[in-house]
């Protein structure tokens, strides 16, 4: 029997009082794809950082091809044949592909010979693994999928036999993700070992041979992918049964609440980010905006939320919204019955150093109920926060705790409680479950559907197609500042939406 390509024995790592990894052991056989799945904060990234030499484990051993190996830094990891593709690429934007590939792996002080050598081996790699890229293209001019290929090539150029990919599909369209999986399959055929870290169950089911589930720093199970199901994996991740599908009745749309006509937005550089958007959201329905991040969805939310100037016409309940003037700020929007759960909860929706009760007042802090005379009525705010925390099951339910001390899901619940409980006519909600654990996702989805059933209009922006398809009553796809088309979830699939997301009209 061959030795495992990589074997971890009893890895433990603590950060202060937090036990990020507890006695973790896995064996990954060569020529297989091994998935590691777990919620945010389960310890996946810590484990991989230990493997790549960023952290030193408190206890435990690493064996590479049966040899006990010390990995004090990333250099040692590369020497041991480990390559890492990070979620956020580590590429120099204005360098060419070739320059990025040799960066840090130059032979000697002169560039020319290394570049020539790299070009040659790039051609070989291309043929071997079917990985096509233009070596002379500049990084900032190629797409995200291509950039990711460059990252993979970088690792292969450094003779990596074990490839670790951290949430590789987060920024890809479904088509790009499929291409990535084909490449990974090819690498597996050639005998490379791949560790895929993800929180998407579908990817695990599609491509991996074996899968390990992590929960709260512990490895709860390692199973053959063929022997398991998404439901079982979800249960292993969360520790209880979860509903993967959103439970909802058909929408009962009524009057138009939000009507957007020919909306255009320029960014600071004068580039048009929204190129004439038309959309309508009715009371009692959820309109989902799908698209790869960076195609104008953020700008749309910013305009509607009142913090970006725009041209065009927007009416809410038949009355025009001020798009550039004195009443185009967030406060005026709230007064018009528009609540907003922003995409970036940690930098926009919350102030991480502020307590939960200050965050609950945030944005509505001038509300009469929160004032007594010229001072704020802190006691009233705290009582209100406590009530909201109880209703939204925020844990721990302490209004005094700073926002940064809550988990991602509980932070999101604090924001949701603040916005939903205002009883808005229109709820804008961006990436409602980004960085949120599965257990909380279920709850958050239920809250959004409940608000819809109360007859509110909801505009949902998400880069997670699965979320859009299961939550939205209608789906609009954005690409390059335009709406490429609208579909009904029941009459479309990820493939069709994926093409729209890539700018191809079907």
């Amino acid at each position: 029997m061959t030795a495992p390509a990589i074997e971890l024995k009893g890895i433990s790592k603590a950060f202060g009082p937090v036990q990020a990894n507890k006695d973790i052991s896995i064996r990954v056989m060569p020529g297989t794809i091994h998935g590691i799945i777990g919620e945010n904060g389960a310890g996946k990234s810590t484990l991989m950082s230990i493997l790549y030499g960023f952290y030193k484990a408190d206890a435990g051993e690493v064996f590479i091809s049966g040899q006990k190996t010390e990995i004090p830094d990333s250099q040692a990891a590369i020497a041991a044949g480990i390559g890492m593709v990070f979620q956020h690429f580590k590429l120099v934007e204005n360098f060419t592909v070739l320059e990025n590939i040799i960066l840090g792996a130059e032979d000697g002080g002169l560039l020319r010979p290394s570049l020539a050598k790299a070009r040659k081996s790039l051609l070989e790699l291309e043929q071997e693994y079917d990985l096509k890229v233009d070596p002379d293209a500049v990084i900032e001019e190629i797409g995200v999928g291509m950039q990711q290929r460059v990252e993979i090539l970088k690792a292969l150029y450094r003779q990596a036999n074990i490839l670790i990919l951290d949430e590789p599909t987060g920024v890809l369209t479904p088509a790009e993700a499929d291409q990535l999986f084909r490449i990974l399959g090819r690498l597996r055929e050639e005998g490379k070992t791949i560790i895929l870290i993800t929180h998407k169950l579908r990817e695990i089911m599609d491509i991996t041979d074996t899968v390990s589930v992590m929960r709260r720093g512990e490895m709860t199970a390692t199973v053959k992918t063929a022997d398991t199901s998404p439901e079982e994996l979800a249960e292993l991740m969360v520790g209880r049964k979860v509903l993967l599908r959103v439970d909802k009745t058909p929408a009962q749309p009524r009057d138009v609440v939000l009507d957007v006509k020919n909306l255009k937005v320029l960014d600071d550089q004068g580039v048009e980010r929204l190129r004439g958007i038309d959309l309508q959201v009715r009371a009692g329905e959820i309109l989902g905006i799908a698209g790869v991040a960076g195609n104008g969805q953020s700008e749309l939310l910013e305009v509607l939320g009142g913090y970006a100037d725009a041209t065009g016409d927007i009416t809410v309940n038949g009355q025009a919204l001020d798009l550039t003037g004195r009443y185009s700020d967030g406060r005026s929007r709230r007064e018009r019955g528009i609540a907003h759960v922003p995409e970036d909860r940690q930098r926009e929706g919350l102030i991480m150093d502020f307590s939960a009760w200050e965050n609950t007042a945030f944005g509505y802090h001038r509300d009469a109920a929160y004032q007594s005379g010229i001072l704020m009525n802190n006691a009233a705010i705290k009582a209100d926060t406590q009530a909201k925390m109880d209703r939204f099951d925020v844990r721990p339910p302490h209004p005094h705790l700073a926002a940064k001390n809550f988990s991602g899901g509980n932070q999101q619940k604090i924001v949701l409680a603040r916005e939903i409980e205002r009883n808005p006519d229109l709820l804008l909600i961006g990436q409602p479950t980004r960085g949120v654990d599965i257990g909380a996702i279920e709850f958050i989805h239920q809250q959004i559907v409940a608000l819809r059933d109360q007859g509110k209009a909801i505009l949902l922006v998400s880069v997670e197609l699965e979320e859009i398809l299961s939550l939205a009553d209608r789906v609009a796809v954005m690409f390059d500042g335009r709406i490429m088309g609208e579909r009904l979830p029941a009459q479309t699939d990820e493939k069709e939406l994926g093409l729209l997301m890539a700018g191809m009209n079907t």
Partner: protein, 372 residues
Amino acid sequence: MDVMPKWAEVVLVPLISLILAAILSALVILAIGEDPVAAVKLMVSGALGSTYGWGYTLYYATNFMFTGLAVAVAFHAGLFNIGGEGQAMLGGLGVALVCLFIPWPHWTLAVLGATVGAAAFGALWAAIPAYLQAKRGSHIVITTIMFNFIAAAVLNYMLVNILRPAGSMDPATARFPEAVHLPSLHEMLAPIGINFSKSAPANVSLVLAIIACFVVWLLIWRTSLGLEIRSYGKSGRAARYAGIGSVRITMIAMLISGGLAGMMAINNVMGEAERLVLNAVEGAGFIGIAVALMGRSHPFGVFLAAILFGFLYQGGAELALWTSIPRELIVVIQALVILFTGALDNMVRMPLERIFLAIRQSREAKATKAAE
């Protein structure tokens, strides 16, 4: 979770920083061949050993409270106002104009008028850099520092060419009328039987400074404007999301900041000199930065830090007077205090955090053992 309990954060860290600064200062005093123990004794007795010493310490502390609060308020909005010096100079001009050209019947009214004048002029001086920052993105650190120089030139011009009484050789205004004389601590405390030194400059402005500390505390932590200022300072994007205007907050925070810096003039111009002279501020605007840093931008911290710096100022003056330790050494000691309490904060904090962590872990380990 926060690693350290709050008392350690608020008390222990600054205290250890101070002790480190003191040790290093002692080494410097040793190095120039003086006796650090005698120096400390002299500083303490000179600054705190008599009501005369206290009078000076509190006088300086009053200045530093105003300028420290000024820096602290701007800090909360994420703005670094290092123009306290110039704003206090202009505040002095405001006080002088109010005191010289309005016939006040009584000091109680005069001090209100002077407060308005001082705050208005200080705020005005902060308003221009604030506007440039808010509307045009000119960095406030650069503009406020340049405005310090412009303020000095304006003051020079006003004193030499306009406000100087005819025939005087001194670039200063005439003496303020007797009616605007502010009661000194001596005069305030005599009726209740405390014999405070007659010649010390501390005066009723100290009470105003303490009130200012309290009002700033209310403003920052108890009003919605304070919440807006703090939000803007913590996260510009979050503030934008909440509909808190950046121009509005920048202007308001800087106006309050400049006003507070200007109000220092009630103490040094109206309370002490009773006329406006050149260089009346004597660097208090800059000390305010250190005071705000050390006080963690909290009004109570500013209050304590201002008294500490008042002590350093007065004790240092005594040192220079009675020993051959040069006055510059006082600047060195102040710099060390600033360095340790402000810039080298993490040097003390991180080992402390580790100690607290170790204590907590051993306690938890014991608890789990007991549970088993």
